[in-house]
C-alpha cells in the first residue's frame, strides 16, 4: 500500500490552477523527485501532499498515522524569537537530549546544538532542518528545494545524505528540486510537473522524454553524466567518485 496517494487532484490559487489533474503515489523506500520550471506548482503539490493546502478536486490518502518529516523550502525565523538549535528540535514534540544529539550527528551538525538558529549559514540550517525531520523516525521525508542556496558540491553531498537516510530509515522520500542534474543521481522516479504531470518515470526515461526536453532543453546532458550513479553496482562498501565516469557530452 502506498504511503501517500494523490488521485486527480486540483489546487487553485485564486482564479489560477496551480496544480491540476495530478495523480501520484509514494511507496516506502523510494525517492521521488518533482522537477519543473518556476511556478509549475511543485511546492504547491508538495504542500497539498502534507495537507498544508486544501485541494479543490480529487483526493489524497495518507496511510493511517503516517509520520511525516518535513523540510520546508525556507524557514524564516523572526529575529524577535530567541531559539537555539536544540530548542528548535523540541518543536512541536519534546525529545530527549540524546535523541536530538544523535539526529544532529547523523546530519553532521551536532557541534551546533547550542547555537541560536538565526546565526546559522544556509547549509548548516538545511542540515538542522533535516535533523529535525528525522527525529520522529518518519515514514515519509518531504523536502521542498532542500539545497536552495547551496553550491553544487554541497548539494550533491546533501542528496547523498538523503539517499543514505532513505536506506537507513526505509522511508519514502518525495522532494522538489530544480537542480536537475544534481538530483537525478539520487532519484528512483522523477515527476516532471508543469501544472499537470508532463512526464514521469526513471531519470533515464524522463530525461529522454520529449516533454522534458521541451521544458528544460537538452543542455544538461554533460552535467547529468557527471553526477549520475552507476545503478548497476552496489551503493555500499566503496566510495563513489563520479568524476571518473565523466565524459563530456559535447
Amino acid at each position: 500500500m502506498a504511503l501517500i496517494e494523490a488521485r486527480d487532484i486540483n489546487v487553485r490559487h485564486g482564479a489560477t490552477h496551480a496544480v491540476y489533474g495530478v495523480s501520484m503515489s509514494l511507496d516506502a523506500g523510494e525517492i521521488v523527485t518533482i522537477v519543473g520550471p518556476n511556478g509549475s506548482g511543485k511546492s504547491t503539490l508538495l504542500r497539498a501532499l502534507i495537507g498544508a493546502v486544501p485541494i479543490d478536486n480529487g483526493n489524497i490518502t495518507r496511510a493511517p498515522g503516517l509520520r511525516i518529516g518535513y523540510v520546508p523550502q525556507k524557514l524564516h525565523v523572526d529575529p524577535t524569537l530567541p531559539l537555539s538549535v536544540r530548542r528548535f528540535l523540541n518543536l512541536p514534540k519534546r525529545v530527549s537530549w540524546a535523541k536530538a544529539q544523535a539526529a544532529l550527528a547523523r546530519t553532521g551538525v551536532d557541534h551546533l546544538a547550542t547555537r541560536p538558529l538565526a546565526g546559522l549559514s544556509g547549509g548548516q540550517f538545511q542540515r538542522v532542518l533535516l535533523a529535525r525531520a528525522i527525529l520522529n523516525d518518519p515514514q515519509v521525508l518531504v523536502l521542498d528545494e532542500p539545497t536552495q542556496g547551496l553550491d553544487q558540491p554541497a548539494s550533491a553531498a546533501f542528496y547523498k545524505l538523503i539517499e543514505a537516510l532513505r536506506d537507513e530509515l526505509g522511508c519514502g522520500v518525495v522532494m522538489v528540486s530544480h537542480e536537475l542534474h544534481v538530483v537525478m543521481s539520487a532519484t528512483d522516479r522523477v515527476i516532471c510537473l508543469n501544472g499537470h504531470i508532463c512526464c514521469e518515470g526513471t531519470p533515464d526515461v524522463v530525461t529522454a522524454a520529449p516533454a522534458y526536453r521541451e521544458l528544460f532543453g537538452t543542455g544538461t546532458g554533460g552535467a547529468l553524466a557527471l553526477y549520475r550513479h552507476d545503478h548497476d553496482h552496489s551503493h555500499h562498501g566503496h566510495d563513489h567518485d563520479h568524476s571518473h565516469s565523466h565524459e563530456p557530452a559535447e
Binding site: R47, I50, G51, A52, I68, G69, Y70, P72, L75, V77, D78, T80, L81, P82, L83, S84, R87, F88, N90, L91, P92, K93, R94, P116, V142
Partner: protein
C-alpha cells in the same frame, strides 16, 4: 471589611493581573508581528463598550465579543486583494471612529469615555478584579496548554501541518486570547494603550532572553514590575495610572536595551 476595600490594593491587583495576562501573550504578538492586529482589536473595544451600554450587558462581555469579532474579521479578510497592513488600518481606525460616534449617541455614557480610552484603574471594583484575574488564568492556561503547537506555528505553518497540528485553530485561539486581554485590560490601561502592555514588556524581554520560555517569563516579570512601579509613580506624581504604567514599561525597555548592548 477586607483588604480589598482599599482602592490602592485593588488597583495593584488589577495592574498585576493585567501584566500576567499580557506577558506571555505579548511574546506571540511580537513574534508573529501582530502589533497592528492588537491595535485594531483594542480599538474595536470602544465599539464594544458602546454596544454593551446600549444593550445593558456587562462591559467586559461586550468588549470581548466585539474584539473577537474584529479579530476573526481580520483573519478572514486578510490575504484578499488589499494588503494586510492597509486592511488593519482600515478596520482599526474605522472601529475606533465608530465606537466614538456610537458612544456620543448615548449622552449618559459620554462621561465614561476617557476611562475606556485611557483606563481608570483607581475605580476598579471587586467584580472587575474577578474579570481581570479570571481572564489572566484563562489566557495563561491556554498558552501553557498549547505552547509547543503555538511555537511551531510561529515558525512555519507547513511545519505545523506536517506534524499533524491544526495551525488555523491555534491562530484562532491567539485571536481569542488577544480579545480576552483587551477585554480584561481596558479598565487598567485603556483601549489606546493595551497593545503597549502586550508589546513593550515582550520587546524588553527579547533583549535579555535566550529562549522562548525565558522570554515569556522575562516579559511577565517586566510587565509586573512596570505595573507596580507605574501605579506608585502615578500616585506619587498625580499622573494617570494607565499611561504611567506604560511609561514605566518603556523605562524598563530602555534598561534592558542598554543591558543587552553592554553584554553584546
Amino acid at each position: 471589611m477586607t483588604f480589598l476595600d482599599d482602592f490602592m490594593i485593588r488597583a495593584l491587583l488589577a495592574a498585576v493581573g493585567t501584566a500576567l495576562a499580557c506577558g506571555a501573550l505579548g511574546c506571540f504578538v511580537v513574534w508573529r508581528r501582530m502589533a497592528y492586529f492588537g491595535d485594531a482589536t483594542a480599538h474595536a473595544a470602544i465599539l464594544g463598550v458602546a454596544l454593551a451600554l446600549a444593550f445593558s450587558i456587562s462591559v467586559p462581555l461586550g468588549v470581548l465579543v466585539v474584539a473577537l469579532a474584529m479579530g476573526v474579521l481580520i483573519g478572514t479578510l486578510s490575504g484578499e486583494v488589499i494588503s494586510p497592513d492597509s486592511l488593519l488600518g482600515v478596520l482599526s481606525h474605522s472601529a475606533l471612529a465608530m465606537g466614538l460616534v456610537a458612544v456620543s449617541l448615548m449622552p449618559e455614557a459620554r462621561i465614561d469615555l476617557d476611562a475606556y480610552l485611557f483606563g481608570d484603574i483607581l475605580v476598579v471594583s471587586k467584580t472587575d478584579l474577578a474579570v481581570i484575574w479570571g481572564g489572566a488564568v484563562v489566557v495563561l492556561g491556554l498558552l501553557v496548554w498549547r505552547w509547543q503547537a503555538l511555537l511551531a506555528e510561529v515558525l512555519s505553518n507547513d511545519l505545523a501541518h506536517a506534524a499533524g497540528l491544526n495551525p488555523a485553530r491555534d491562530r484562532l485561539m491567539l485571536t481569542l486570547l488577544v480579545a480576552t486581554v483587551v477585554a480584561v485590560s481596558i479598565k487598567v490601561v485603556g483601549a489606546l494603550l493595551i497593545t503597549a502592555m502586550l508589546i513593550i514588556p515582550a520587546a524588553a524581554a527579547r533583549l535579555v532572553a535566550r529562549g522562548p520560555e525565558g522570554m515569556a517569563v522575562w516579559a511577565t516579570a517586566i510587565g509586573v514590575v512596570a505595573a507596580i512601579g507605574g501605579l506608585y509613580a502615578a500616585r506619587g506624581f498625580g499622573t494617570p495610572a494607565g499611561p504611567s504604567i506604560i511609561c514605566a514599561a518603556a523605562a524598563l525597555f530602555c534598561v534592558t536595551f542598554l543591558a543587552g548592548r553592554l553584554r553584546g
